[in-house]
């Protein structure tokens, strides 16, 4: 059983499911997909890419050289797609369980939200 994906990793894999992207393209795509919640930087992106490449979840698909700079494009591998699908299943299952338990509570108490104080729940 795989450990849960960290959120930046989750969004990197999601962004790459759509199309191959280079570093800055990935930063922007993750920013957008996460509604500005996950903000990657050069310093946080590359350790994640190192790990994902090592694990075989992503791979370099092509490189563009502009002067002394480099744009390296990454794509999702089949094993990366499987890993993301497994994570989606896990999250969906968690959400379903939570919704079911909360719905039962709502039927019991008529209150969908957590009570303000512990005393109020009795």
């Amino acid at each position: 059983m795989n450990p849960p994906l960290q959120e930046p990793t989750f969004f990197i894999l999601t962004a790459l499911s759509n199309e191959p992207l280079h570093g800055y393209g990935l930063i922007q795509a993750v920013d957008e997909l996460s509604h500005r919640r996950v903000r990657l930087s050069a310093g946080t992106l590359y350790p994640a890419l190192d790990r994902l490449t090592q694990d075989g979840l992503i791979a370099v698909t092509r490189e563009e050289v502009v002067g002394s700079r480099l744009r390296r494009y990454y794509e999702l591998t089949d094993s990366g797609a499987e890993r993301l699908a497994a994570e989606i299943a896990r999250l969906t299952e968690n959400a379903k369980t939570a919704a079911r338990v909360l719905a039962a509570r709502t039927r019991r108490t008529g209150k969908p939200r957590a009570a303000r104080s512990l005393g109020a729940t009795t």
């Binding site: 570093g23 800055y24 930087s41 050069a42 590359y46 350790p47 190192d50 744009r71």
Partner: protein, 163 residues
């Protein structure tokens, strides 16, 4: 060379200097790519790396050198730290405070810096890595009053380590 081109190349050179902080082997593998990403993200007409970029890249380079890359912060990477909860608060194990004092600071000044930061650390106000200078907004927000010594305005890079 046009004006825009020369500005771009001076920014690019500055990013390359920043990337020197990475270990050599890592720089060889990733340097050009990191510079490319930084250049892609630079604002039009930007001439110098932004302070946030400097902190970001130096932090990443340091984590790479410490062999703890992949963690989002130094605190999480160090022994006793945990990706979800941050460093373990174990009061029996003394924490070690590493400081890189302002350039030109003498031993007495370094000692004062260390005492100030240790106090703030005990109060739980700071998490590494941290850049503190005599008058940065960061130090005001953390209510750290940097000692009046050493050359003004040169920040001290402060790192905390756990035993």
């Amino acid at each position: 060379m046009t004006d825009v081109a020369s500005r771009e190349s001076s920014l690019e050179r500055a990013y390359w200097r920043l990337v020197l902080a990475y270990p050599r082997a890592y720089r060889a593998a990733r340097g050009a790519e990191i510079v490319g990403t930084l250049m892609d993200g630079a604002a039009p007409g930007q001439r110098y790396p932004r302070p946030g970029e400097v902190v970001d890249v130096l932090g990443a380079a340091l984590r790479q050198r410490l062999g703890v890359a992949g963690s989002t912060g130094l605190a999480e990477a160090l022994p006793g730290g945990n990706p979800r909860t941050g460093p373990r608060r174990d009061h029996r194990a003394p924490r070690r405070l590493l400081t890189i004092a302002p350039r030109g600071a003498d031993a007495q000044c370094r000692g004062r810096w260390r005492r100030v930061l240790r106090g703030a650390d005990r109060a739980g106000r700071i998490r590494p890595p941290l850049l503190v200078g005599p008058s940065t907004t960061r130090s005001r927000k953390l209510s750290i009053r940097p000692p009046q010594c050493g050359p003004d305005r040169s920040p001290a890079l402060v790192l905390l380590a756990w035993r």
